[in-house]
Each structure stands twice: as structure tokens, then as C-alpha cells.
């Protein structure tokens, strides 16, 4: 983070008035989002609290550089992602036998999507999503997304989040989770298949 703490604190005093961080409601909401995000990744509330706290302190120090709420939010989440990535990388020793066991049990969890020749079963064939990106504007969509994420088997969710949220490369995830590349590919595939199906059933093709 910034090396010039003294200059930053002067700027902090100057610009606090207009800063989004001076709005308690915004700050509280932002903190809540960050905490949910960090807890999902780390599975450890205390670690998550610490990471969020550090990221927010960094934001306060650099408050002058943000044009608006969106820029600030993007920035603190980038800091938070880096912190989580560091914690995950250090964690590689802790992959336990229990998790490996669970990975085995997840082996055949969606074979019923395809027929014997490996083609889509009629009911399982992915549909076309209309205007898929507009969903990100909808608060309800994010609730569905989080529910779908929480329904993934723990291992799949962790690996998926390392890849798509923290944006670790394959070899980094393999080291952190102590799995082989082919195991990683299969796990990511299963997570994506499940998430896709969950979003399709509960959002994109939801009939109401």
C-alpha cells in the first residue's frame, strides 16, 4: 500500500468531507458485502474480519484518489482479493484428508445430465439466456447467485472462487488445494455445470 502515510493523512483530513466513506450507511453496506465475500472464501469468520478491516484501513488512507463510490468499491475489493489470495496461498499445508474424501464422493454427481452416448438429456440441455448480463443490475439476482454458490459442495465452491473471484492461476490453486491439474479441471467443470444449472432454473428460465 502507500508508503507516504504522512501525506496521505493530510489528504485524509482535507477530503473526508466529500468521501463516500464519510457516509455511515454506505460504509456499513460496503463492509457487509466485503465480509460476506471474504467469509465465503476463507471459511473463517475471524480471518475474514481481519482481512476486511485491513482493506478498509487502506481505503481510508487513500481516500482522496477515488472519484466515486464505484471506484472506491472496486478498489477495496481488489485489496481484499489480494489479502485473501495471500491467505489461501499460505494455507496449502492444511488441505486435509476429509476434503479429499469429499472430493471422491462428488465424483459422479451430475452424470445424469447426459445419456449413455454422452449427449444432453432433453430436459437437461442448456437453454438460451436472454440478455444474460443485465442480471447484474438486479439485487434479487445477486441473492440467487449467492444461494447457488452456497449450494455447491464445499470443495467445488472453494476452487471455483479461487479461480473466478480471486483469479488465481491453475498452478496456484493446485498448490493451495493440493490437487492435480486434472483434478482441478474436473472440479471447476462440475462447479460450473452446477452453477449454470442453478442460475438457469432459478433465474434465467424461471417461470412466474
Amino acid at each position: 500500500m502507500s508508503e507516504n502515510v504522512a501525506a496521505d493523512s493530510i489528504n485524509l483530513v482535507e477530503s473526508r468531507e466529500q468521501s463516500p466513506l464519510s457516509d455511515p450507511q454506505f460504509l456499513q453496506e460496503l463492509r457487509g458485502q466485503m465480509l460476506r465475500f471474504a467469509s465465503l472464501q476463507l471459511n473463517d469468520h475471524q480471518l475474514a474480519e481481519d482481512a476486511v478491516q485491513e482493506a478498509l484501513i487502506g481505503a481510508f488512507k487513500n481516500v482522496r484518489t477515488f472519484a466515486g463510490r464505484a471506484a472506491l468499491r472496486t478498489w477495496v475489493f481488489a485489496i481484499l482479493k489480494n489479502k485473501i489470495a495471500d491467505i489461501l496461498r499460505q494455507r496449502q499445508r492444511y488441505a486435509d484428508a476429509d476434503q479429499l474424501l469429499r472430493a471422491d464422493r462428488e465424483q459422479h454427481d451430475h452424470d445424469e445430465l447426459f445419456d449413455l452416448r454422452g449427449h444432453w438429456l432433453r430436459d437437461e440441455r442448456p437453454a438460451q439466456w436472454e440478455d444474460p448480463e443485465s442480471a447484474v443490475y438486479d439485487k434479487h439476482f445477486w441473492r440467487v447467485f449467492e444461494v447457488c454458490l452456497n449450494h455447491l459442495p464445499v470443495r467445488q465452491a472453494q476452487v471455483f472462487m479461487m479461480r473466478e473471484f480471486i483469479e488465481l492461476e491453475s498452478h496456484e490453486i493446485c498448490a493451495a488445494a493440493e490437487i492435480t491439474v486434472s483434478n482441478l479441471n474436473v472440479t471447476l467443470y462440475r462447479a460450473r455445470v452446477r452453477l449454470r444449472e442453478c442460475l438457469e432454473n432459478n433465474w434465467y428460465m424461471l417461470e412466474d
Binding site: Q33, T74, G118, V136, Y137
Partner: protein, 77 residues
């Protein structure tokens, strides 16, 4: 079809982590040309990644960040 939907969807997923070989890529393209299910799947993989990017921008509950990231996306195209 040379490869099954099961195989093709796995390759489509893996393409998000690594460059497919020439023959893998050709297999995928040929298959997607004739299979709407896998074509939809392939598009959805890209959508999933974009959604994840938005989520990690913190737009999970906020519209301003989502609007920003959409503007960026449009700029990229």
C-alpha cells in the same frame, strides 16, 4: 459428431484455464456449430465469468459498480 456433449463441455470449461490444442479447438468449433445445447453452455461459461467479475467488484448489492463494469465491458467489444 466426433465427440460427445460430455467431452465438449469439459473442453469448453478447460478453455477458461488453458489454450486448447488445435485439434481440440477444431473439435469444439465443429461441435458447437451443430449443437445448440453446447453452444448455449459455451456462452453461459463466458457469462458466468463476467458475473463473477462483477461480483468481485462488490456489485453484489450495488448498482453503481455494476453500471461501471458494464461500461467497461462495452468498451472492450
Amino acid at each position: 459428431m466426433l465427440k460427445s456433449c460430455r467431452e465438449i463441455t469439459r473442453l469448453v470449461s478447460e478453455a477458461q484455464e488453458r489454450q486448447l490444442s488445435l485439434s481440440e479447438g477444431a473439435n469444439v468449433r465443429l461441435h458447437l456449430a451443430v449443437c445448440s445445447g453446447c453452444r448455449n453452455f459455451s456462452n453461459q461459461m463466458k457469462t458466468l465469468r463476467e458475473i463473477a467479475r462483477c461480483y468481485t467488484n462488490g456489485s453484489g448489492a450495488a448498482n453503481d459498480a455494476a453500471a461501471d463494469s458494464r461500461n467497461q465491458d462495452n468498451g472492450d467489444r
